[in-house]
Symmetry: C2
Subunit: 421 residues, 2 copies
């Protein structure tokens, strides 16, 4: 067993490595590293060197995912996947995604050359944020066989397709199917910063994700009657913006009284949008999420009813269209329980929670048992250069991960699993 | 006394003349006639010919106002001004402003060459809508001596100044002071469509304006904390758009319960404005009007307090800045009473009301007793090609105006007035 200050030393190195990777950027002033952009090559070179120093076998698949295999005790060992994504949003912090890859490498390092009854494949996904092509998870989609011709044909702002971007990076898009999960995968483990304030408010270093929430996005359009703001008495108005505002308040109220729901209107617009004209039309975008698909659908139905009844009372029609509908994805209960046990051993009480954001683990869960560990995010600040982690939390995450690997080594239930891929 | 069907015939001609003037436009597809634009020359030529046929002395002042003097019984007669504006908004209807000029000419025609103890100066203001230079009332400002160097220097979208526009039309901007009201003006009378739904809902042809409402315009800015819509629990949010929405509902509620107030939020915007991001900032523009300055100021103070308290409860700061503050302008009580009397004689019960919109009469009222007659606007539709008037209402307005002139002819109170100009 390693000493506690070993995890602290590894955690220091991990944070410093995250900061180093943040310097590989498309932008001079901040971190921006999108799918197979030039700085991704520097990032790969750096991470590869760390992997190789641990005796890992490094490769780049046709979707641009960096993969490092740390062999198991015997040549035919099954494998566990550990990783996250290497791409970033514009003006990014140093830890979102990156930390999960760096911690996977650190976990291998914590083994100190010991071989386990399973291999460990560390993976740095090429694309999760959806910045370059407006569609997220290109990297993890490749592992579950969901990169199709339509996705390969999608173009970025410069008219370069996913296929062409892959070629330009020196990879062969025709090999994309070879990126698929092999049939010896026992599970996928992802460390990720929470990107929210929950753990920070609770004062807990680690969270365990039980499910990634399901989500709907809808556009609501309220149509009333544009009119003169001075000459139209209050009781003769059909004010679309007032209707939208009443509904935005109702959205918030319903979410506040319904446990586990988050519902957000982040965009609203009035037309014609002049100070002295009553709005004839108003648009508002709804984002609603819950770990339970039933609870989410029920809340959404209620919000649609409210939009219609608020509108009806005002002579304003309310129409909506669906932009996204995605069910919740459960994490693997066995792995989740094992993580909880390992966290206890590391001396901390992890908080079981839903992830309000999508992650690569959500995609991998289609094919293999997947689990996620969240690290506390100070003040919940993410997608921002101020994004940070506490050194102690990173050390706890590493210690938890190390205990987990040890536990799995001894688990016949885990080792006996067969892959659904 | 003229027969009732004379007014009907004059009203038919007036409507047909309004429709004719609507064909003089800067745009091929609709009516748009801004300050001293080329079609204004055609408009002047047309209106001048009507005036000249009635023996009126026609001139164009240096602010581009068309003025036709119908002489009084004696050479030194004082004068009454009757008119409105000849400019339009883009995609305009045929009656806003124009009808007031056309009716003034029709009133002179209704005199059938009879001379009154006062002269009548019919005026077609060059600019009321504020379209070309973003500032309204250029025509009527010239009459009260409020066209200064700053206004003359103001430029349109093509970089042409008011001064240059006047020169380009063949007028001399240095003569602008000569456009000022002479000191023999007894009062100003303006016929105008209501541009609102009040008379239409009440089923009354005519309204008498008691006051033009005072008005404030303010920008409110709510600042909270932008955050992830999925990972930020409802109770940890500082949602600027939800705060703005709650306040927009409060604005409407206060206006609904406060007699005579109209309060409108016609513009709202959330930043960053993404579906999956809680708004960190929201802007909303308030327009609030009332015929009583005290009632308006009191309501505005209450709305500012509400913005602050709604914000404070949510951890959102609310700040505001004033964009416009304008007191109410009372119409002349004597003229208003005389109009009411004249309307009764014409067989209709006019509705006493406030004007929610600004008009040239508001500017003229700074210097001379001013009064306004509103004509019912079907469905309240204005600033739109669908803008219309009822023939019967126009006939009633003419009959009312004719009776008014007859009354004033016999009024020592009116004839004994001296001008404040």
């Amino acid at each position: 067993m390693l000493k506690e200050n070993t995890f602290r030393t590894l955690a220091e190195e991990a944070i410093s490595r995250c900061r180093r990777l943040a310097t590989f950027s498309e932008d001079a002033g901040g971190t921006r590293r999108t799918f197979l952009s030039p700085p991704m090559r520097d990032c790969h070179r750096e991470v590869s060197s760390w992997m190789k120093s641990l005796g890992m076998n490094v490769s780049l698949d046709a979707a641009g995912n960096l993969r490092g295999l740390y062999a198991g005790a015997s040549p035919g060992s099954s494998r566990i996947l550990i990783g996250s994504h290497l791409d970033t949003v514009p003006n990014a912090g140093a830890f979102d995604g990156i930390l999960g890859v760096v911690l996977a490498v650190a976990l291998v390092k914590s083994l100190d050359d010991a071989k386990l009854p399973f291999a460990i494949e560390v993976i740095g996904f090429s694309e999760e944020e959806g910045v370059r092509f407006g569609i997220p998870f290109i990297g993890s989609r490749a592992l579950v066989g969901r990169v199709d011709e339509e996705l390969l044909g999608r173009k970025d702002a410069n008219g370069i397709s996913v296929r062409k971007a892959i070629e330009n990076f020196g990879l062969n898009p025709n090999d994309i199917l070879k990126a698929k999960l092999s049939d010896d995968v026992l599970g996928f483990l992802e460390f990720h910063i929470e990107q929210g304030p929950v753990l920070d408010k609770l004062g807990r270093p680690l969270g365990i994700v039980e499910a990634i929430v399901g989500q709907n996005r809808l556009e609501f359009r309220f149509s009333g009657q544009a009119n003169h703001a001075g000459t139209t008495p209050m009781n003769l108005r059909r004010d679309a913006l007032a209707a939208a505002a009443e509904w935005i308040v109702a959205v918030e109220a319903l979410a506040l009284r319904t446990p586990g729901i988050v519902a957000t209107v982040g965009f609203a617009e009035a037309k014609p949008g002049a100070t002295n004209v009553i709005a004839g039309e108003a648009r508002a975008m709804l984002d609603i999420r819950h770990a339970s698909d039933h609870a989410r659908t029920e809340a959404l139905d209620e919000l649609i009813r409210q939009a219609e009844s608020i509108g009806a009372r005002r002579g304003v029609t309310a129409k909506w269209r669906a932009l996204l509908s995605q069910n919740a994805v459960a994490m693997d209960p066995f792995l989740t329980e094992q993580i909880e046990h390992a966290a206890h051993k590391a001396g901390c009480e992890p908080h079981r929670m839903a992830s309000g954001a999508g992650h690569d683990a959500m995609i991998l869960a289609e094919k293999v048992p997947a689990a996620m560990v969240f690290l506390r995010t100070p003040e919940g600040i993410s997608h921002d250069p101020a994004e940070s982690v506490h050194l102690d939390d990173v050390a706890k995450a590493l210690e938890c991960g190390h205990h987990l690997l040890t536990q799995l080594t001894a688990s016949q239930e885990f080792l006996g699993r067969t892959c659904r891929a």
